[in-house]
Symmetry: C2
Subunit: 329 residues, 2 copies
């Protein structure tokens, strides 16, 4: 349909953010037979426990074919970067990350550490965005457990907004805003979901998604890259509990989106620390939450219960047995 | 489940935006029998052609029960405002706005003008956000044609971001950024969808959604409130064409979200003008676009074709007959 391959980032001067544009799908009508993420597929090979592979349909590539453009308001840069798939386990029939053992899950996190470290050496890459989509309700077609990493030539808009506000707070008070929020949430307690030795999970006071859970380190851990193996295993335990909670609330898998808000790959950020955000998409009523006109068109999220009720439901859910996939440990 | 009625706006100090929180649904387990928007229902009565009614489950009310809160970082204000449903036609079996005659559609727009004018007199209300969700894929359960207006005590975050960038551009150049963008898009031509006497519709260079269409006035029309009847009828024609295009592209209704980006209800904005944004949610491949981790978690939209291809498809679609609902005119 298109005439040439386009892989670029276009600048929206009205909203002030970048959009990734890539029409590689139109040129590569590739359809895998069987699961492309299972061991022994053309892309995966054998003998791994966690595997990082390049996305077959990348939004970003190391050497994009498109040049920059600067005739205002049409500003674009080549889509320089990488798109990775993190295949989190060789086992196809696992429902969720929470079905991995804490140690296996810590291995996944350690794989991210290594990938981030590697990416930080590439001067063209500014930021590594890890995210995970779970459930066909959020568009997931390949059910083999996997997440993604976009190695970006810019800081994602949402992280940039957070950084801006964190920096302002720090300049005024000398405190990390994220530490402040975590401490006040732990003090208040009513929105806390669980707490492990080094991490805490809570539904923030201003949750936008029905079962939105933020996982913070208890110390000011700037980046996941600086976490010890002991901390990674603890984070794995915290994450397992939270994700089991999401599945237990309604006694069935809940679609969610998870994202890691790291600082940029290079630089020092005493005013910002890494944290994980998980957006469980079922409303308190059990029905799917959609981002409609208010959210998508206006940027105004509507929460039709209270974060306190969601946190309470999650805490109660943590006390009932989990019904994961059969081979859960 | 909850202990008390909560209707408030909570401030997210990390992202810097407001979230509407309302648990009225938990206290009013109301289920309509039959369509609540058809003439003769308890909410609607008879004898209207366009009807504005209050939302049965409001996120905002004139006299919210909740007080403000200011123990940082937990900041909230009462959810003072109004939530309206605009029932756009008495006819239940109409698929979309484009099935109304241009004159009937202009009546809908005129109704908005009157509502906005009325709301502008209420000092508690800062902004009127009109939006429209279409299709069950975006969560619409009531198919009787309707849209919504949130009368808000703050400027929606997305509009605020636009206003900020428009103001900066104006301060530097003396020009309205939105006028600049529209003029350059019309000049370039390749992303223009259609043009009527007073309005133009184009897929912006930095479209975030697959069939994202922006409809701009050809003059610097600050607010829809200042449009003449002649302009409203022309806008109705432009809007009908665009929405028919969306339905024709794949020969079936396309889910979409539409939103009107007005300036705030009071004040003068020589650097900002009203425009309509429509996000058609099918990708060029015909499959539904989901906002996943990259979009929802990072604020980074991915466009897996090019806006130029989408615009071309829409232009071609405008040339084939439309198969709307039976009673279209």
């Amino acid at each position: 349909m298109a005439e040439r391959v386009v892989i670029e980032a276009r600048w929206d001067p009205i909203l002030g953010d970048w959009v990734l544009v890539s029409n590689v799908r139109e040129f590569r009508p590739w359809r895998p037979r069987g699961c492309p993420f299972c061991p022994g597929s053309p892309e995966t090979g054998w003998g791994w426990r966690v595997l990082v592979i390049e996305n077959a349909f990348p939004m970003l590539v190391p050497n994009p074919p498109t040049g920059p453009r600067s005739d205002f308001p049409f500003i674009s840069v080549p889509g320089r970067g990488r798109c990775f798939v993190v295949v989190e386990t060789p086992r196809h029939d696992v429902d969720d990350l929470s079905d991995l053992s804490a140690s296996d899950l810590a291995d996944v996190l350690e794989t991210l550490q290594i990938l981030f470290e590697e990416l930080s050496k590439d001067p063209a890459i500014v930021y590594a965005l890890w995210f995970r989509n779970k459930g066909e309700e959020v568009g997931v077609s390949l059910t083999h457990p996997h997440s993604q990493v976009y190695a970006l030539p810019f800081i994602p808009n949402k992280v940039l907004r957070e950084m801006r506000n964190c920096y302002r707070f720090w300049a005024r008070s000398g405190r990390c805003l994220l530490c402040e929020v975590r401490d006040r949430e732990l003090e208040a307690g009513e929105r806390v979901v669980c707490r492990t030795r080094f991490f805490a999970a809570f539904v923030p006071f201003w949750a936008k998604w029905p079962f939105e859970i933020h996982v913070h380190p208890l110390r000011h851990l700037e980046s996941l890259r600086y976490a010890s193996r002991e901390e990674l295993e603890d984070l794995a335990r915290c994450l397992r509990a939270v994700l089991q909670g999401l599945r237990r609330v309604f006694g069935k898998p809940m679609p969610y989106v998870a994202v890691l808000h790291e600082p940029p790959l290079r630089g020092s950020y005493p005013w910002f620390h890494t944290h994980l955000e998980i957006y469980g998409m079922y409303r308190v009523s059990g029905r799917l939450k959609y981002a409609g006109g208010s959210e998508t068109g206006g940027g105004v999220f509507t929460y039709d219960s209270t974060p306190e009720v969601a946190a309470k439901m999650l805490r109660s859910a943590l006390e009932v047995p989990d019904h994961g996939s059969e081979d859960k440990r």
